[in-house]
């Protein structure tokens, strides 16, 4: 009980540091300090999570933390200044994939009967959200990275019936999600789980496809917002306050930042996202 109070108090402090840090990042004079403050918040959140009563075995956490730190530092140090936007896209994709995996791991734990959630349908819906948002964030960010790094052509790729195809895929994803949440049959649950996981990965790719390389910064900002929401959904999966607060903060502030970025280019958000589609906006991208 005592550690529970300590952990949650530390999460409150971390959340406050994220809020102050994000606010300071928006002003030139305080931006660098703001980044540092939000970094301290993250450090507190990570350290205190080691005290969580669910965390029993530290070996693999340490392995992951060390590996992630080494790779992350190498990425940040070695990248050229001109390649920063694609680096942000790449890092963002990793965050999205991590949220997807958190959802998948919880799915496995419930499946083998290790965890019995108090509200099974709610947890299932949260897992579904974490996986589809994380999946779209991951492949969308990877595609944005490839376009900016010029591994793939930056030209928008369009083909007939593209938005219909995307819309259909989104529809099937949602149907699979509903089947996953309401069905009690283990085999139906597994098939639906696999179906929406794969479809979300495809959807992220095909949604970014028709958007030109020049508009990628706005797309990355939107995907960043999505990765926040994915973290938020993962927070609902494991009932964790700091994930919900930080994820939701990034989610909504990312939307505002995307709109500001569009305004700076004298464009509207809808114009950036759907200009490839012509006058009719595609339901798929809008919904995801």
């Amino acid at each position: 009980m005592n550690s529970e109070i300590l952990i949650n108090s530390a999460y409150i402090v971390a959340s406050c540091l994220f809020i102050v840090g994000l606010k300071m990042l928006g002003r030139q004079a305080t931006a660098r300090k703001g980044n540092l403050i939000s970094g301290v918040g993250m450090l507190i959140a990570i350290v205190v999570t080691l005290l969580d009563r669910h965390v029993i075995d530290f070996t693999w956490i340490i392995v992951g933390l060390v590996a992630g730190t080494v790779i992350g530092l190498a990425c940040a140090r070695l990248v050229k200044m001109t390649a920063m936007p694609e680096m942000v896209a790449l890092l963002n994709g990793f965050g999205g994939l991590a949220s997807l995996i958190v959802g998948a791991a919880e799915f496995m734990r419930i499946r083998i009967g290790e965890v019995t959630p108090a509200h099974p349908e709610f947890t299932a819906a949260a897992i579904f959200m974490a996986i589809i948002i994380g999946g779209v964030t991951f492949t969308g960010s990877m595609y944005a990275f490839c376009k900016l790094a010029e591994w793939l052509s930056g030209r928008p790729i369009l083909f007939a019936g593209q938005h219909v195809l995307n819309g259909l895929m989104l529809l099937v994803t949602l149907v699979a999600g509903v089947a996953y949440v309401v069905s009690g049959d283990p085999s139906v649950v597994l098939i639906a789980f696999l179906a929406y996981t794969v479809l979300s990965l495809i959807l992220g790719w095909t949604t970014v496809m028709p958007i030109g390389g020049g508009d990628m910064p706005v797309v990355i900002s939107l995907l960043n917002s999505l990765s926040g929401l994915a973290a938020c959904a993962a927070g609902f999966v494991i009932s964790n306050n700091v994930l919900i607060v930080a994820g939701c903060l990034v989610g909504t502030s990312g939307v505002i930042l995307s709109i500001i970025m569009c305004k700076a280019m004298n464009r509207s958000l809808m114009n950036v996202l759907f200009s490839g589609f012509g006058s009719k906006p595609g339901a798929a991208a809008e919904g995801s």
Partner: protein
């Protein structure tokens, strides 16, 4: 009741996020995006719980470890990339920032 509380903080955090960002100078767009991206690495908390839960299943341990690694790359990379961008900025704009400090800072 616990679920309602989660939705309660979710809604408030959402509104806060909307209100937090306003009138950002255009040169700060990318660093702000990158800084927010680093915060979204908070999913590492969920990843650590998944990796550390000793439930006798190697699958969840493998998944959890992968998630911790990926989220940590996001966190460490995100904060250092943002810091590098902002640091660069200061050096380059040091002379001009002095003269128009009042206008830009506030």
């Amino acid at each position: 009741m616990e679920l309602l509380l989660l939705f309660f903080i979710f809604t408030l955090a959402g509104f806060l996020g909307f209100e937090l960002i306003a009138k950002v100078p255009s040169q700060l767009h990318t660093p702000l995006m990158s800084g927010a991206n680093a915060i979204s690495g908070i999913t590492i908390v969920g990843a650590m719980v998944a990796a550390g839960a000793d439930d006798g299943s190697w699958i969840t341990t493998v998944l959890g470890t992968a998630a911790v690694t990926l989220a940590m790359i996001n966190v460490v990379g995100g904060y250092f990339v943002t810091d590098r961008m902002l640091g660069m900025f200061k050096k380059k704009g040091a002379a001009s920032a002095e003269t128009k400090k009042g206008g830009v800072a506030k």
